[in-house]
């Protein structure tokens, strides 16, 4: 198993932007939307056979004509003086019943992505995912940024609508970045690449649903494109968000009134400064989390 490059674009110190599906598909929507808008050109792939189970068979008149496996492709684009490589993985290579990649296969895939980064002398890597947060779906999601090097912290502090994990201490439930969007950051550190993971906030009550959350993808892309110093029109994500919001609102109305009342209070949470006290106390926050958890547990049991 390995990398197949169809062509070797001439690039000098490009930036790699990589993502796989995860909670709310926030990272993958952000990265794949940018790739599509920039019309980046496909130039290679990671061969899927040893990582994945097939996703589609096509049988025509009794003959198996095609068996499709998840794509893991590399694209490149030179735009506004910036050289970009995109890696878009259609699935995370899982083992057993795990939802997100971990273990040998995940590590191997991260290494293969970084082999390409090394081959083209990438100077920086961005990954993207979701940050599960006590926020409301009507609020603009913030972006949590996790760098793999001390020297990136100052740069991140200059990003708009972005927080470092030290700024959200006690607020978020998230203390790790699961799956490949996180693992790549660590493997990049091991191999000497500077890397940042940008995670769009998703409300805690939406994290287990099979719904995309493009609103957070837009927040991620706003930060990413400013960091890359490229200008793109993100209106496409607004259309996706409008469709998603209708489904989210339908789901929201099914939450029992008592819990919804608690969640409604999150509509008014405004974090005016990164580490400042919010209008919801720690005790209230705990109660909301407990109520939400109980509701979903009951729902999961068919209650």
């Amino acid at each position: 198993m390995g990398i197949r490059l169809y062509q070797e674009p001439h690039l000098e110190n490009p930036i790699l932007v990589a993502s796989w599906p995860g909670i709310g598909n926030i990272g993958i929507i952000a990265v794949d939307t940018l790739r599509g808008m920039l019309e980046a050109e496909e130039f290679g792939e990671i061969e899927p056979w040893d990582f994945f189970y097939p996703k589609r068979a096509v049988i025509h008149k009794g003959v198996l004509e095609y068996l499709e496996l998840p794509d893991n492709k590399f694209y490149f684009k030179v735009i506004q003086g910036k050289e970009l490589i995109f890696f878009v993985g259609e699935e995370q290579p899982t083992e057993g019943d795990r939802v997100y990649a971990e273990g040998k296969k995940a590590y191997h895939m991260a290494k293969l992505v970084l082999d390409v980064a090394e081959k083209f002398k990438c100077r920086r890597i961005y990954t993207s995912g979701a940050a599960v947060a006590l926020t409301h779906h009507t609020m603009k999601p913030r972006v949590w940024a996790v760098p793999n090097s001390e020297r990136l912290i100052q740069e991140i502090r200059g990003y708009e609508n972005t927080v470092l994990t030290s700024d959200i201490e006690g607020r978020g439930e998230q203390r790790n970045i699961t799956g490949l969007n996180g693992l790549l950051l660590g493997v990049a550190k091991k191999r000497g690449f500077e890397a940042i993971c940008l995670m769009g906030e998703i409300p805690v009550y939406l994290q287990g649903l099979p719904l995309s959350y493009p609103k957070a993808s837009k927040s991620v892309l706003e930060v990413l494109t400013r960091s890359l110093k490229i200008e793109v029109n993100l209106d496409k994500l607004d259309e996706l968000d409008q469709r998603a919001q209708r489904r989210i609102e339908e789901f929201y109305q099914q939450i029992p009134l008592a819990i919804r009342g608690q969640l409604d209070r999150l509509r008014h949470v405004v974090y005016d400064k990164p580490a400042g006290p919010g209008p919801i106390t720690e005790e209230e926050k705990k109660k909301i989390m407990d109520d939400v958890e109980k509701f979903f547990k009951k729902r999961g049991q068919g209650g």
Binding site: K55, A57, V63, L64
Partner: protein, 277 residues
Amino acid sequence: MSQGYPIKIYREPDLSQSSLVLGWSEDAGNLGRKVTDYLNRKLKGQEFAEIEPEDFFSLGGVTIEGNLAQFPESKFYACQELELVVFRSAPPGAEWYKFLNSILDVAEHHCQVKELYIIGAMITSGAHTSPRQLFTVVNSAEIKEALNQHDLVGDMDYQTPPGERPTLNSFLLWVAKGRNIPGVSLWVPIPFYLAAMEDPQAEKKVLSFLNKRLDLKIDFSDVDQEIREQNEQLARARSLFPEVDDYINRLESNLTLSEEENGELIKKIEEFVRESD
């Protein structure tokens, strides 16, 4: 043989142009297990190789079936005079591509396999009294042509629906195609109320095809006896339980049952068979 593949060969079979018949030990009606057991028993298949389990199965303990501890097995048997290789295995839970290539490594490099036959069961809402058909999916137009003389349904159009995955049989057919091994996936319908039990009619459908295709010269009087016994048993269930008779009558008239009725029919038949045995 590819380096690093977890294959254990006990003895080299003496085969020059063999056919491989493959069955999974966990499928509807226990079809894969029953057909491969039958072939091995009737044709005196000798175990000669196995695939080691650790890369492919969760080995966190053992399952218990019929009061016995079970452990995943992936074994090859050879019926040398008939140029037949039988492989039976639990379906792997991981590293599918490596597992399927391990099978084909043994087939290609130790057995000179020229054709591959994969046994598969599909659950149907039809009645056990309906005539069974044998559906095929192949991995090349040439083998489809070669099967024309057999009584098969081989013109299926199908695409994996969204949210579902292809079968392991399709995956194996595709990997075999990549190695230029002609392959046939055989699909026989099993009535839903027999899926957790055994279905000798389905077994016979597959075995009869293999018998003719591979010239195995098997006498099926024992399977015919099993079919008769099961038919009698199901007829008794119909006469004792009017609701069972009603459900099966409706299935025979191509009517569908509600989910609740399906569940009730399965329960009644399984209980009856368990108590009769």
